[in-house]
C-alpha cells in the first residue's frame, strides 16, 4: 500500500514539474533567443547614434531609446496619479452604482485591444492637430497604463484590514489623512509594483504608437512632433529587407527586454532592500 502511494505521489509530482517547465519554457526561450541574436549586435553606437541612411551599416537607436522614455513619461504623468486616485475611490469610497459602473468601465478598458487605443488617440489628437505627435503617443500609452494602475491600487488597498482604517479614524484623524498617511504609506510597495507592471507593459507597446507618435529617424524633444520609440523602431526595422536593420531590430528587442526587466528587478530589489535592512536591524537590536 505504502509503496503504491509513494509511486502515485512521484507520478503527480513529475506531472506538476513538467507543467511548470512547459509554462516557463516560452519565457526562457524568448529571452535566450533575443539574447543570442541581440547581444552580439549591441555596441556603443547603438546607444548614442542616430540611424544611418539605407545602404550604410552601423548607426543606432539613441532617438528611439529617448523617445520611449519620453512617451512612457508622458503616459505615466497622466495615468499614474489618475489611476491611483481612481483606485483609492474604488476601494475607500465606493458605495452605490457609480462605483460599480466605474469598476466595470475600467475592466473594459483593460480588455480594449491596444490597436484600438491607437486609433482612438489618432482620432482625438492626431486628426485635429494635423500632425503625428509624441503627445498623442503619450496619451495612447496613458490609456494603456490607467486601468492597470487603478485596479492594482484598488486591490492592494482592499487588502488592508478594516480595523487599521478604524484605528486611524479613532485617533481623530480626518479620512483623507488616514488614506494618505496610513493606508497609502502602508501599501506603498504593492502600489509601486502595480505602477511598474503598468509602465513596463506600456514601454513594450507598439500598436498604440504606430499612428500616433508614428516614429522618426531624428532626435526630437517637442511633444508636438513625431517621435521614435523602441517598439515602433523594432517593428519598422524587422519588416525591412536590409540585413543590417534586421540585426538592429534584434538589438532593440534585447534592449527593450533589459529595460523592462531591469526596472522591474531594480525597484523590487530597492523595496526588498528596505525590508531586508529592517530585519537586519531588528536582529541586531535583539542581541
Amino acid at each position: 500500500m505504502f509503496r503504491y502511494r509513494k509511486f502515485k505521489n512521484f507520478l503527480f509530482l513529475t506531472f506538476l514539474l513538467v507543467c511548470a517547465l512547459t509554462v516557463l519554457s516560452p519565457l526562457l526561450l524568448v529571452t535566450q533567443f533575443v539574447f543570442i541574436k541581440g547581444a552580439s549586435s549591441l555596441n556603443w553606437d547603438f546607444f548614442t547614434a542616430l540611424p544611418k541612411p539605407v545602404g550604410e551599416t552601423g548607426g543606432g537607436m539613441a532617438h528611439a531609446i529617448l523617445g520611449t522614455f519620453y512617451m512612457v513619461g508622458i503616459g505615466g504623468l497622466i495615468a499614474i496619479p489618475l489611476g491611483i486616485i481612481c483606485g483609492i475611490y474604488l476601494s475607500e469610497f465606493s458605495r452605490g452604482s457609480l462605483s460599480s459602473l466605474l469598476r466595470y468601465s475600467i475592466d473594459m478598458m483593460t480588455g480594449v485591444p491596444s490597436i484600438v487605443v491607437g486609433i482612438f488617440a489618432y482620432l482625438i489628437l492626431v486628426v485635429p492637430l494635423k500632425t503625428f505627435s509624441a503627445l498623442a503617443g503619450g496619451v495612447a500609452l496613458a490609456i494603456i497604463i490607467l486601468p492597470i494602475v487603478t485596479r492594482s491600487t484598488e486591490e492592494i488597498l482592499k487588502l488592508v484590514p478594516n480595523h487599521i482604517r478604524e484605528a486611524g479614524l479613532a485617533l481623530g484623524l480626518p479620512r483623507w489623512k488616514v488614506i494618505v498617511y496610513v493606508l497609502l504609506k502602508g501599501s506603498r510597495s504593492g502600489i509601486i509594483t502595480g505602477v511598474i507592471l503598468a509602465v513596463s507593459r506600456a514601454a513594450g507597446e507598439t500598436a498604440p504608437l504606430l499612428f500616433t507618435a508614428f516614429g522618426s529617424m531624428y532626435f526630437s524633444s517637442s511633444p508636438m512632433e513625431p517621435m521614435a520609440s523602441l517598439p515602433v523602431q523594432i517593428y519598422n526595422y524587422a519588416i525591412s529587407p536590409y540585413a543590417d536593420w534586421q540585426r538592429q531590430a534584434w538589438a532593440g528587442s534585447f534592449l527593450l527586454i533589459i529595460i523592462v526587466l531591469g526596472v522591474n528587478l531594480g525597484v523590487r530589489f530597492y523595496l526588498n532592500k528596505n525590508e531586508v535592512l529592517q530585519v537586519f536591524k531588528r536582529k541586531k537590536g535583539q542581541k
Partner: protein, 251 residues
C-alpha cells in the same frame, strides 16, 4: 464627576436591532467592564461611543452620548474633533504598517499638525512609559513596529491612543488575541491608566472583568440586563440572568 453619559442609545445593522435603548453613566477615572455572551451587542455598543459604528455600511444609531457635556451625535459637531477626545484600542493589535515604533506612537499628534519634532519625542517617551513599553523599545524606536510581539504591539496601540490625550479610552476585547502573560501586563496597565483616564472595556473574560473593573455592565441580545459595582454583579446580582451567566450556567 460623570465624564461619559449614554442616554437611550439604539444601534442597527440594516434591520437588525443590535443595541436596544442603553442608558449608563461613566464616572471619571473609573474602569467599566462590559460582559455578555457572544453576539450580545457589546462591541457594537462600544463602537457607538466614538462613532466608529457608523463606518459599517448599513449601520445606524439613535440616542445620545454625552462626552464632557457635548452630545457626540449632535449634527452640528464635527465627528473628527469628537474622536480626538476618545481613544480606542481594538481586539487585534493593529500598529500601522511600514511605520516605526516612534512614528506609530505619535502619528495622531503629528497628523493633527500641532506639535514640533522635539515635543513629539517627549510625548512618545511619556506615552510609551504610560503603556509600560518604554523599557522594551527605547533602543529600537526607529524600527518597524511589526517586529514587536503581539503583546508589545497591543501596548503600542494603547500608547498610540494615549498620545492624543483623550480623557476616555475604549477597549474592545484588548487581550483576547494575547497569551496570559501579555494579558496580565495589559491588566496591570489598565489599573495604572485608571488614575488618569476613564476606561470602558469589553471583555469575554469574566475573571478579567472582576479583576480590573470598578463597574460592570451585563448585556444580552442588545439589552442591558444589569449595571452596577463589579463586586455586586459578581457576588450578589439582582437579576436571575446575570446570576446564571456569572455562575457559568449559560453563555
Amino acid at each position: 464627576m460623570t465624564v461619559l453619559s449614554v442616554k437611550n442609545l439604539n444601534a442597527w445593522f440594516g434591520d437588525f436591532h443590535a443595541v436596544k435603548g442603553i442608558s449608563v453613566d461613566y464616572p471619571e477615572k473609573s474602569v467599566t467592564a462590559i460582559i455578555g455572551p457572544s453576539g450580545c451587542g457589546k462591541s457594537t455598543y462600544i463602537r457607538c461611543l466614538n462613532r466608529i459604528h457608523e463606518e459599517v455600511p448599513g449601520a445606524r444609531v439613535e440616542g445620545e452620548v454625552n462626552l464632557l457635556g457635548t452630545n457626540i451625535y449632535d449634527k452640528t459637531k464635527d465627528v473628527v474633533d469628537l474622536r480626538k477626545n476618545i481613544g480606542m484600542v481594538f481586539q487585534k493589535p493593529n500598529p500601522f504598517p511600514n511605520m516605526s515604533i516612534f512614528e506609530n506612537t505619535v502619528i495622531g499628534l503629528k497628523l493633527q499638525g500641532k506639535s514640533k519634532k522635539s515635543e513629539l519625542m517627549e510625548v512618545a517617551k511619556s506615552c510609551l512609559e504610560k503603556a509600560a513599553l518604554w523599557n522594551e523599545v527605547k533602543d529600537k524606536l526607529h524600527q518597524d513596529a511589526s517586529g514587536l510581539s503581539g503583546g508589545q504591539q497591543q501596548r503600542l496601540c494603547i500608547a498610540r491612543a494615549l498620545a492624543v490625550n483623550p480623557p476616555v479610552l475604549l477597549m474592545d476585547e484588548p487581550t483576547s488575541a494575547l497569551d496570559p502573560i501579555a494579558t496580565a501586563k495589559i491588566e496591570e496597565l489598565i489599573d495604572e491608566l485608571k488614575k488618569q483616564y476613564t476606561v470602558v472595556i469589553v471583555t469575554h473574560n469574566m475573571q478579567q472583568a472582576a479583576r480590573i473593573a470598578d463597574y460592570t455592565s451585563f448585556f444580552v441580545l442588545g439589552d442591558l440586563i444589569e449595571h452596577g459595582v463589579s463586586e455586586d454583579i459578581f457576588t450578589n446580582p439582582k437579576e436571575k440572568q446575570t446570576e446564571d451567566y456569572v455562575r457559568g450556567k449559560f453563555g
